[in-house]
Each structure stands twice: as structure tokens, then as C-alpha cells.
């Protein structure tokens, strides 16, 4: 245990980075996915095509490649962000494709009568989406969104490929000094598990409050 306690500082920094990266990417992914899913169900064809292309392109290319391209490629095109910001951007844009697909499934579960009722009240496309369909869609996909968020947490470890010192890199660095791999990597795994537990617990609480009994 001494190894873990002696390097508490490095570990804490790694955990903090992972938590920040996960939180910000989650918020970014949710925002982007709402836009993308709106595009995908809109009556405007070019927007639908863009939404589909976005989802396909981001889902079919590995996240690590996106991270490397954003971190090392964008500066060559004269677009510079801080390393952390770039990692958030890459993880958020990648995860948004998955969130958008989950949301679209959710929209498909909303009964047609709901949208008809919204229209009968005189609500337009945007209004019925915002006030009637999306709230119900979101509530019915709380569980899948939770699973995707656990996946997002796991995916933040890929930022190691671009040199961001998050939890997995922190563990690796401590190990290079201390050479106690079993203890150090188990410690890191426990922290990941606890963070995932936090997400699944939050998901469960949210679901219990929001689920629609049909």
C-alpha cells in the first residue's frame, strides 16, 4: 500500500484529469448529439445527410485516430488549442455520434400520437421536438446513455496516446518509478470501477425518477 500512498499526488492529479475529461466530454457530447439528432429527424434533406454522415464517420474510425489527428494534425492546419481542450473536443465529438444514435432510438419509441397531439396544439417542428418529443425520448434512453457514459469514461484513457496525464498514464508513470505493477494497476482499476459505479448509480436514480410507465 505504501507505493500507492507515496504517489498519492500523481494519482490524485490523474484522477482529477480523468474526472474533468469525462465530465466536460459528456456535456459536450450531449450538446453536440442533440444538434445532430435534430438534424437527423429534420425535414431538411441536406441537414439529414449531414447528420447521417457525422454519425457514420465518427463511429467507423477509431477514437485514438481522432485524438491523434486533433492533437497533432489540427496545429498543422493552423488550429491550436490546449492539449486538454483538444482531448475533450475529440472525445466529445466521437461520443456524440453514439449518443445521437441512442437518442434517435428514443425518438422512435415516442408514440406517434404524441407528435400528432403536439401538432394538433399548433406546435411547429422545433417546438414539438423541444417540448414534447425530445423530453420523452431522453427519458426513455436514460439507461443506454448511462452505459455510453461508462464507455466514455473508459475511452478517456485513450487520451494517453496523445500524452495527456490522466489516470491510466499516471498509473503507468508511477509504475515506471516504483515497478510495482500489480498493486499500481489494480489501484487504478479500482478507481475506474468506482467512477463507473458513480455513473451507473446516478443513471439508476435518474431512471427511477424519470422513467415513463407506459
Amino acid at each position: 500500500m505504501d507505493v500507492l500512498l507515496d504517489n498519492l499526488g500523481t494519482f490524485a492529479e490523474g484522477v482529477a484529469t480523468t474526472v474533468e475529461l469525462t465530465t466536460l466530454s459528456f456535456l459536450g457530447a450531449l450538446a453536440i448529439s442533440l444538434v445532430i439528432v435534430t438534424f437527423r429527424v429534420s425535414p431538411v434533406r441536406p441537414l439529414r445527410l449531414f447528420g447521417t454522415a457525422y454519425v457514420e464517420v465518427f463511429q467507423n474510425v477509431p477514437l485514438l485516430l481522432w485524438i491523434l489527428f486533433f492533437v497533432f494534425g489540427l496545429p498543422k492546419l493552423g488550429i491550436r488549442f490546449e492539449l486538454f481542450t483538444t482531448a475533450v473536443l475529440a472525445v466529445a465529438m466521437y461520443s456524440a455520434a453514439y449518443y445521437a444514435e441512442a437518442l434517435r432510438t428514443g425518438i422512435n419509441t415516442v408514440a406517434a400520437g404524441q407528435a400528432e397531439a403536439a401538432r394538433a396544439l399548433g406546435l411547429g417542428f422545433g417546438q414539438s421536438l423541444r417540448w414534447v418529443v425530445l423530453p420523452q425520448a431522453l427519458r426513455s434512453v436514460v439507461q443506454p446513455l448511462g452505459n455510453l457514459t461508462v464507455m466514455l469514461l473508459m475511452n478517456t484513457a485513450l487520451a494517453a496516446g496523445a500524452g495527456l496525464v490522466e489516470l491510466s498514464t499516471a498509473a503507468n508513470r508511477v509504475n515506471l518509478v516504483e515497478a510495482e505493477p500489480i498493486l499500481i494497476f489494480s489501484g487504478a482499476a479500482v478507481v475506474y470501477a468506482l467512477l463507473a459505479l458513480l455513473i451507473t448509480t446516478a443513471t439508476r436514480l435518474l431512471e427511477r425518477r424519470l422513467v415513463i410507465h407506459r
Partner: protein, 276 residues
């Protein structure tokens, strides 16, 4: 058209037309800005693309694609096999067996693949087990995908009608026989599309070969970028991205095709095979 809007009337049609024109213009503007950004930074220069008209570079990347497919095939194969065993164990009536399978799946699900790779890179050698390069990538990927494959198989088994198991029991089959002869053959057919799309996920995960220096696509791209002194970074990542996209997109279309075919082949309710 979906449930969100009716057949549009004349005013809505006009609005949709305006929105179409505006979004096409916005898209064209974005593309123009991107091309300009490439141009002013010299990334469109012919000398930066010329290497990708040469066969040796392509041969190098295609070999890497082969290595990627090999690693993905092995990882998905082993992960799938382990997943099948896990799913069967998890629905077992033996509490110890199902408890173990459940604990394994829940644990693996919350450990990033990168961490598993570090374990194979650093923990196993300290225990005297130094795997060959390919297996340093395949073993962690197989472990991390086994839980996901297990969930897919389990969902397939649980999706079957209870009556299937009861009928098997009524025929005098024991649990093992019922699983092998009645449940699994049906469950497996149902989950084939999900298995194929999960394999796409494994294919993407082989990019973690980057961490173990296994010569799959992404690591080979890094080598190629280094060889050209970082001059071709953008171009190489775009080419590699296109290769990943092609391979993975083909796989996901295949999964979707299987799903459609599976749905249309399913006999209608009340249809008893054998009583045509």
C-alpha cells in the same frame, strides 16, 4: 418522413426549401473554409500527396491493414468464444458459476482496455510471462471484448421464449442438453448481427496496437509519418482514417443487412415449422 411532421403544406414547403438552400450554402461555406485552411498551410501541395501515389507506401499500409485484420479476427474470435462461455455460465442455475461469470463481466466492463494493455506489458512479464507482440494486443482486447460479447449472447438467450426451455425439459432433456440443442442454436441466430457490429468495435480497438508497437494500421501510420519527418502527418492520418472507415463501414453495412434479412426470414406468429 417520420411521425414528427405531417405532409407539409405550401407554407411549410417554402420554409423547407429556404432551409435547404441556407444549409447547402452553410455547408459549402464550411467546406470552403476547410479547403482554405488546408491551402494556406501548404497541406494541399502536390509533394505532400505524391507519396500516396507510390505503390511501396500503399503496400506498407495494406500489410498493416492485414495485421489489423489478423489482430481483430483473433481478438473477436477469442473474445466471442469466452463471451459465449460466460453467457452460458451466467444463466446457469449453479449460483457459484453464475456469480463468477457475473463478477467477471461487471469487472471487465469497468476497466479501460488501455489499462489491460499495461497489465500485459508490465504485470505479466514480472510474473515471467512475456507474450509475443501480436498477443500483447490480442489478449487484452479478447479479455475486454469477452464481457461485451457475453452480454450479447446473454441477451440472445434471454430473448427466447421461456416455453423453449420448458418444452426441452418436457422432452426429457437435461439442462445442458436443452442449452446445447434447443436454446443456443436459436439464440445464436438472433445475435449474429450484434456480433458482427461488436466485431467492428474490436476492429477499432486494434488501434491500441499503437501502445504496444504492434505494426497494425495506426502504429504503421506513426512509423510512416516519422519516416517522412512529420511532413505527411495530415495526409497519412486522412488516408488511414479512410482505410478504417472503409473496413468498418463495410462491416456495419453487413451487420445491418443481416439484421434485415433475419427479420424478414422470421416466420410469422402461429406458424409451426414442419407443419407446412
Amino acid at each position: 418522413m417520420n411521425v414528427l411532421f405531417d405532409e407539409p403544406g405550401p407554407r411549410a414547403r417554402r420554409r423547407i426549401r429556404v432551409a435547404t438552400v441556407v444549409s447547402v450554402l452553410a455547408g459549402a461555406l464550411l467546406v470552403a473554409l476547410a479547403v482554405r485552411q488546408f491551402a494556406i498551410n501548404g497541406e494541399l501541395d502536390w509533394k505532400k500527396w505524391a507519396p500516396y501515389t507510390q505503390w511501396p507506401n500503399w503496400r506498407y499500409l495494406l500489410t498493416a491493414l492485414g495485421q489489423t485484420l489478423l489482430a481483430a479476427g483473433l481478438s473477436a474470435g477469442l473474445g466471442g468464444l469466452a463471451g459465449l462461455l460466460l453467457a452460458v455460465a451466467r444463466v446457469s442455475r449453479n449460483v457459484v458459476v453464475s456469480g463468477f461469470a457475473r463478477a467477471y463481466m461487471e469487472t471487465v466492463r469497468v476497466i479501460p482496455a488501455v489499462l489491460l494493455i499495461y497489465v500485459v506489458l508490465f504485470v505479466l512479464p514480472s510474473l515471467g510471462l512475456d507474450l509475443p507482440l501480436l498477443w500483447k494486443l490480442v489478449v487484452p482486447l479478447a479479455v475486454s471484448s469477452s464481457a461485451q460479447f457475453g452480454e450479447i449472447f446473454r441477451a440472445g438467450i434471454l430473448s427466447l421464449d421461456r416455453g423453449q426451455g420448458e418444452a426441452a425439459a418436457a422432452l426429457g432433456l437435461n439442462n445442458g442438453q436443452a442449452m446445447r440443442l434447443v436454446i443456443l442454436p436459436q439464440a445464436l441466430r438472433r445475435v449474429v448481427p450484434s456480433l458482427v457490429s461488436q466485431t467492428g468495435g474490436v476492429l477499432k480497438d486494434t488501434s491500441l496496437g499503437f501502445f504496444v508497437s504492434y505494426a497494425e494500421l495506426l502504429f504503421s501510420g506513426k512509423v510512416l509519418i516519422g519516416y517522412y519527418q512529420n511532413q505527411l502527418l495530415i495526409q497519412t492520418y486522412l488516408v488511414i482514417g479512410a482505410i478504417y472507415f472503409t473496413a468498418n463501414y463495410a462491416l456495419s453495412r453487413f451487420a445491418r443487412w443481416l439484421e434485415r434479412r433475419g427479420n424478414s426470414n422470421r416466420p410469422p406468429l402461429g406458424h409451426y415449422p414442419g407443419h407446412r
